[in-house]
Each structure stands twice: as structure tokens, then as C-alpha cells.
């Protein structure tokens, strides 16, 4: 592992927009030793022993919640899950009251997923515990951005100068925004591609290129990060049909075969096979969709560990210490 000293993240991880290049690279480097822990027979280190963490999921997300929960348990933290359905929230409790109640239970960290952009910041401003954004509305999903970057670095060998295209429903995507901020800060080039109905206004001002046609994007890029196209987007009229979407913007083998180089394929999941991505591509040799999932646990362990006050060198020491 690179022995770079990771700068402190501060109290919370709300988004990659607020982080510096050094902080982002620090998290990625700190993730390296944590990757290995998940490969062991006994997948547990005592780095967060005695810490209590609440996973507050106001919006359903099986995958992200499970990934965080594994990360927390492998660091020996005590965790409680909280889902909006069937909780005090469905009885009309406000976010501010939820925050105060969590605070009153003297928890150390909150991992929050919320349908409203800015909800994690709202929480972070009101409680002393560390707050980690696990996806807020159409704003950011920083740990997803980080795990995408870690996966890109693993497979392309670097981040600086690589060309990444984010394909699909960028308008509603927190994954897209975290990718844009994170990748731009470490010197990667970023483009977005999709029908204009699904591209956010003024997105070029974030320093990204906009491609109207998937063929041009494929020709340009080193990697495609293919976003999930939610079925609701058709009902609300953003696209005429899923079939046409697949025809015009689908990531297919035929399109990839025409590219001048092999493109790495990422997808934050869950996939709609045959809509935004064809199965042969998702299951193909250049797909890193499952390595992304594996890296997700390592990145989240790194973030939890760093926010709890850990240092990147100590993560390495803990790892080797456990081995000896």
C-alpha cells in the first residue's frame, strides 16, 4: 500500500464535492488494506470495537445497506438498522426529531440514505455524531463514487487522464454527481451521455463533456459507468419506451465491438438487463460490476475507519498485526 498519510475527513462524509484530491486519494489508499480483510476466513478486525452505528435508511436500498453493514461488522462496530417503513417516520416524525432521538441515544455514527437531497447535511448540522451520506435524492452518493474510482484504478492502473463516460439517467443520479466530482478532482476526464431529457441543465459547467449519441461516447471513453434506468422514467415521460431506450442508448456488444479499444464496464446496480445494458456486456470479460461490489465493502470500511479518527498507516498496521 501507498504509505501516503490520509488527511482527516472532518466530521462527516456528505459528498465528494467538499473533499480535496488528497482526501479522496487518502480514502482510496486506506481502502487497500481493508480489501484483504474480506478475503480472510475470519473477516473481522477490532478497529471500531465499542462504536455504535445506526444505518438510517429512509429509502429502501438493500445493496448499499448490506454493504455498509458488512463494513461495520468487519470492523467490529455495533450496528442498528432503521428503515423508514414501519418506524416512527411513518408515524409522522420529522427528520429533526429523528435526529435528536438518535443523538439522545449517544450513537457514534449515522449512515443515512434519504430521498431528499441535502437530508444528510441537515442531519450533520444538528448532531455531533459522524454522518455518512449513503445516497441523498439526486445529490450525491459519495461511497459509490469512491468505490467506482477504486475499481477504475484497480483495472486501469491509474485515474489521472483516464476518460470515463457516465451513461443514462444522469438527471436523477446521485451516483453520476459523485463520480463527476471525484473523478474531476483526481484528474480524470468525464463525459455524460443520454437523451437530453435525462441530462441535468448546465451540467457542462461541472467540467464534463456531453455526448448526445452513445456511439460517440464509446469511441471517446476508456470506461463506461452505466446508470440504472428506473422504470418510472418512462411513466413520467422522460423517454418514450424502454425498448427505444435500449435501441438508442443501450450498451450492447455490437456497439462496443466498434470501439477503438476495450472499454471497462461499470454499473452501480441493480441492473435492468436488456434495457441500459445487455447481458452479454454485463457478464462479459470487461465487466467489473462484481469487483465494484467487493470494493464497496472495503471503501466503506475505510470511510468508517477514517471518520472514527483512524489513520491510514494504522489501518495497514492493524492488518499486518492481525496476520502475525
Amino acid at each position: 500500500m501507498n504509505s501516503r498519510y490520509a488527511p482527516s475527513l472532518g466530521k462527516d462524509l456528505l459528498g465528494l464535492e467538499q473533499l480535496s484530491r488528497e482526501q479522496i486519494l487518502g480514502i482510496l489508499d486506506t481502502s487497500e488494506p481493508f480489501k484483504e480483510i474480506s478475503e480472510r476466513t475470519i473477516k473481522k478486525v477490532p478497529l471500531l470495537r465499542g462504536k455504535t452505528i445506526v444505518n438510517a435508511f429512509f429509502e429502501n436500498s438493500t445493496r448499499t445497506r448490506i454493504s455498509f453493514e458488512f463494513a461495520e461488522k468487519r470492523l467490529s462496530a455495533d450496528t442498528v438498522n432503521f428503515a423508514a417503513g414501519g418506524s416512527s417516520v411513518s408515524k409522522g416524525e420529522t427528520l429533526v426529531d429523528t435526529a435528536r432521538n438518535l443523538e439522545a441515544m449517544r450513537i457514534d455514527m449515522v449512515v443515512i440514505r434519504h430521498g431528499s437531497s441535502g437530508a444528510p447535511q441537515f442531519l450533520a448540522e444538528r448532531i455531533a455524531s459522524n454522518v455518512i451520506n449513503a445516497g441523498d435524492g439526486g445529490h450525491e452518493h459519495p461511497t459509490q463514487g469512491l468505490l467506482d474510482m477504486l475499481t477504475l484504478r484497480d483495472h486501469l492502473g491509474r485515474l489521472e487522464g483516464i476518460k470515463v463516460v457516465i451513461v443514462g439517467d444522469v438527471l436523477h443520479s446521485r451516483v453520476a454527481r459523485s463520480n463527476i466530482w471525484g473523478l474531476r478532482k483526481v484528474g480524470a476526464e468525464v463525459a455524460v451521455c443520454g437523451p437530453k431529457t435525462l441530462i441535468p441543465p448546465a451540467i457542462e459547467e461541472l467540467g464534463v463533456t456531453v455526448f448526445r449519441r452513445i456511439e460517440e461516447a464509446i469511441e471517446w471513453g476508456d470506461a463506461l459507468n452505466v446508470l440504472r434506468l428506473q422504470l418510472e422514467r418512462m411513466k413520467s415521460g422522460f423517454i418514450p419506451s424502454l425498448r427505444e431506450y435500449n435501441r438508442i442508448f443501450g450498451v450492447t456488444r455490437e456497439r462496443l465491438e466498434r470501439a477503438p479499444r476495450d472499454l471497462l464496464i461499470l454499473h452501480p446496480g441493480p441492473m435492468n438487463r436488456g434495457v441500459e445494458i445487455d447481458s452479454v456486456v454485463a457478464d462479459g470479460p470487461h465487466s467489473v460490476i462484481l469487483p465494484q461490489v467487493t470494493n464497496g465493502v472495503a471503501v466503506r470500511m475505510a470511510v468508517l475507519y477514517l471518520l472514527a479518527g483512524g489513520k491510514s498507516e494504522s489501518a495497514e498496521m492493524a492488518r499486518t498485526g492481525m496476520e502475525s
Binding site: V96, S117, H139
Partner: protein, 428 residues
């Protein structure tokens, strides 16, 4: 009641082209006359030296929330807030619960305003029954009960045919139809201005076009019908242009600029501050510039606050969930002086024209003048005193302002309604 002499102030009354160091004599609730060194024997004297004496400020656009939302504001607290902001007359919007869409509710608002006895509270009535956009409300009955305009504020009339009928029918009573110009279909789900800030924050934007298409529609309908149109809180550059052009063509239109739209841009939302969430939203710098230009050249002839109080619990939410609106009565004059007069965009007479004379003319209200025999509604203010905006000092029941902690230059000193001092800085 003893006569009052307001002594030694700079009296500015654009309605009569008066601007000079004069005394104002008031008796029996009316202006008796202006003059130099008036005799003040047997009169109460208000020393206004170093201050501006103006016809009382009039706000054509406030939400007093009563009946139905008394946890946000009442006619009593809203009236107190108004006079503390230098306003002698306010026009109350009808989006209450129940909505003000009949003569009984109009009568209630008027009576409650009189009972409170601070600012003159003039009700507006809804354009349609229940603000549902279908059947016209009884304009005639409401006007007879005291309504001064009809408006769909907050719930724009979707159907052009209904708006046409409203603009035609209102002419019987010679009242303006006031519109919140927004195509709700185009702005659906939007919570702030569409643009890079909304994109960064992951919030759904409201495009300028949502306002522009309705301004265009309603100007065309005003031209078609010859009706009087009043466009509320204009926030877009294209909106200002269209109104300027319509006015030049002789269409009968008046229009508002709010202090927040001429002071702030959508960057004020940048950390999800719900006190910068209002509708129409704060726009871009180019839009803000256009609104200022509109105030300068009189395209936007009226400055109005869109005072929209909300309980702190309601604003203490995620941005998507918080309601639109900010309070404005107690910061309006300070903001207008600071942003427009002290930055040399307009002079003091123009400011008073926009905040008193033009609003009176637009709705045909008494006031807006210090002419002999007119109502003694007078605002005395210090244009130069610096002060800190401290929402906890507001007389409004609500505190939702994006201007907390701002230093402003200029504020009211005393407010007279009907010859009575209803508020003064020294007493509060």
C-alpha cells in the same frame, strides 16, 4: 384628537412632486397641509429633522395566514409586522383556509384588520371558487365587502378561458386581476431555480419558462380583453422584457418586484437553506439585473414583499419538504434603501413612488399621497441608519428570512395610520 405637526423632515411626495424640508400638519386623521414652519400651537410635534417623511408605504402582496394558519401569522401579528416595516396599508392574499372566495370571508379579514387597528388591511378575493380554477368567485359581492383585487396567488388559474373571463368580468368593478405567473405543469416538482446550482445540489429546477409562458399568456389575454392585469413578483429577465413591451403597446399592466428578487440569486440556496426557498425562486444574476432595471425604468412599477410567514418547524426540514416563502415586511424598506438607493440605482423619490404612490394607483387605493385632505398615512424613516437584521426582534410571528445577520442601511422610525402613530422605533 390633537393635531399633529411633523416638523423639519425632508418631505418627499412624488404624487405631487414635492421634495423639500417641510412640516406636515395633520388633523382629524387627514393631511391638512404642508408648509414651512407651520404653527404647532396646541399640536403634538413629531421631530423629523434628518429624516424622510413620505406617504405611507403600501404592500400589495402579503400573506397574513388568517383564517386557517394562525400558527404562521395572524392579522394581528401581520399588521404589527407591517407597521414596524413602515407599511400603512397591506393587501392580504386569499390563499387561507378556507380561501377568501366569498363576501363573508372578505368581511372577516377587513373587520379583523380594523379591530387590530394598526395597518389598513385590505383583502383580496380569489379568482375562482375554492381557488380551483373553474368557476369565477363572486367578484361583485367580494368588492362590495371590501376586496380590492382578485387573485389566484399560489394557485395559478390553469385554464386560459377562465382567465379571460376573469379579466373581462373584473372590468365591471374596475379592479385589477392579480396573477402569480407560473405554469404548474412546467414547474412540476421544482423547488428552486433551474440551473447549475440546482444541478449541483440534486434539486429539481423551476425553469424561467414556467413563469414566462404564463406572463405571455396573461399579457395576451389582457390585450384581448382590455382588462387590468397585475403581475406579481416578476423574477425573470424575459418576463421584465415582455411587460416593458406590453406597457409600451398600451396594455394595462402593473407589476411587482420583490426585495429578495432584486437582492439575491439562486446561489443563496447553496447549502440547502430553506429560508432561501420561495416561489418564484431566486434566479440568476442576469435575471436579478433585469429585475433591478425593471424597477429603475418603472416596468416593475411596484415593490411588494410577498411576505410569506411559515412556522419554524415547517422550514426546519429537508429542502424538498419545506414550504415556499419568506417574511418580508420588516426588511423591505431596509433592503430597498440598501440595494437600490445607496447603490445609486434609484433616488429616494423613485423609491417612494415604487413603494407607495404606484401601489396605490395600481389598485386604486386611498393613500400614496400627502395631498391636502388625503388620509394621514405617513411613513417616517431614516435612510442612513445602519442596523442588523435580527429575526428574533421581528413583530411577525415567523422568522423565516434569508437576511438574518445582514447589515442594512435605512429603516423606519415611525408609522402613522389615519393620523395616529401606530408604531415608532422609540416605543418598540
Amino acid at each position: 384628537m390633537k393635531p399633529i405637526v411633523i416638523r423639519g423632515g425632508r418631505v418627499i411626495d412624488p404624487s405631487r412632486r414635492v421634495d423639500g424640508k417641510l412640516d406636515v400638519l395633520i388633523a382629524e386623521g387627514r393631511i391638512v397641509g404642508l408648509g414651512e414652519s407651520l404653527d404647532s400651537t396646541d399640536a403634538d410635534v413629531i421631530d423629523a429633522s434628518g429624516l424622510i417623511v413620505a406617504p405611507g408605504l403600501i404592500d400589495l402582496h402579503v400573506h397574513l395566514r388568517e383564517p386557517g394558519f394562525e400558527h404562521k401569522e395572524t392579522i394581528r401579528t401581520g399588521s404589527a409586522s407591517a407597521v414596524a416595516g413602515g407599511f400603512t396599508t397591506v393587501v392580504a392574499m386569499p390563499n387561507t383556509d378556507p380561501p377568501i372566495d366569498n363576501s363573508a370571508t372578505v368581511g372577516f379579514v377587513l373587520a379583523e384588520g380594523r379591530r387590530v387597528g394598526l395597518a389598513r388591511v385590505l383583502p383580496s378575493g380569489a379568482i375562482t371558487v375554492g381557488q380551483k380554477g373553474e368557476q369565477l368567485a363572486e367578484f361583485g359581492e367580494m368588492v362590495k365587502a371590501g376586496a380590492v383585487t382578485v387573485t389566484d396567488d399560489g394557485k395559478p388559474v390553469t385554464r386560459a378561458s377562465v382567465m379571460r373571463l376573469a379579466l373581462e368580468y373584473a372590468q365591471t368593478f374596475d379592479i385589477p386581476v392579480s396573477v402569480h405567473a407560473e405554469d404548474h405543469d412546467l414547474s412540476r416538482g421544482g423547488v428552486m431555480n433551474e440551473g447549475i446550482t440546482a444541478t449541483r445540489l440534486g434539486l429539481t429546477g423551476i425553469p424561467n419558462a414556467a413563469e414566462d409562458v404564463m406572463i405571455a399568456r396573461d399579457l395576451q389575454l389582457a390585450e384581448l380583453t382590455g382588462g387590468r392585469l397585475h403581475i406579481q413578483h416578476v423574477s425573470t429577465r424575459r418576463g421584465v422584457e415582455m411587460i416593458r413591451e406590453a406597457r409600451a403597446r398600451g396594455i394595462r399592466v402593473s407589476a411587482e418586484a420583490t426585495p429578495h428578487h432584486f437582492t439575491l440569486t439562486d446561489e443563496a440556496v447553496v447549502s440547502y437553506g430553506t429560508d432561501a426557498k420561495m416561489n418564484p425562486p431566486l434566479r440568476s444574476e442576469a435575471d436579478r439585473d433585469a429585475v433591478i432595471q425593471g424597477v429603475i425604468d418603472g416596468t416593475l412599477d411596484v415593490i411588494a414583499t410577498d411576505h410569506a410567514p411559515h412556522h419554524y418547524d415547517e422550514k426546519e426540514q429537508a429542502f424538498d419538504d419545506a414550504p415556499f416563502g419568506i417574511v418580508g415586511l420588516e426588511t423591505a424598506l431596509g433592503l430597498a434603501l440598501t440595494e437600490l438607493v445607496h447603490r445609486k440605482r434609484i433616488d429616494l423619490p423613485t423609491l417612494i413612488e415604487r413603494m407607495s404612490c404606484a401601489p396605490a394607483r395600481a389598485f386604486g387605493l386611498p393613500g400614496g399621497t400627502l395631498g391636502e385632505g388625503s388620509l394621514a398615512d405617513v411613513t417616517i424613516f431614516d435612510p442612513d441608519v445602519e442596523w442588523l437584521v435580527q429575526p428574533e426582534d421581528f413583530l411577525s410571528l415567523s422568522r423565516n428570512t434569508p437576511f438574518a445577520g445582514w447589515r442594512l442601511k435605512g429603516r423606519p422610525v415611525a408609522t402613522l395610520v389615519g393620523g395616529r402613530v401606530v408604531w415608532s422605533a422609540t416605543k418598540s
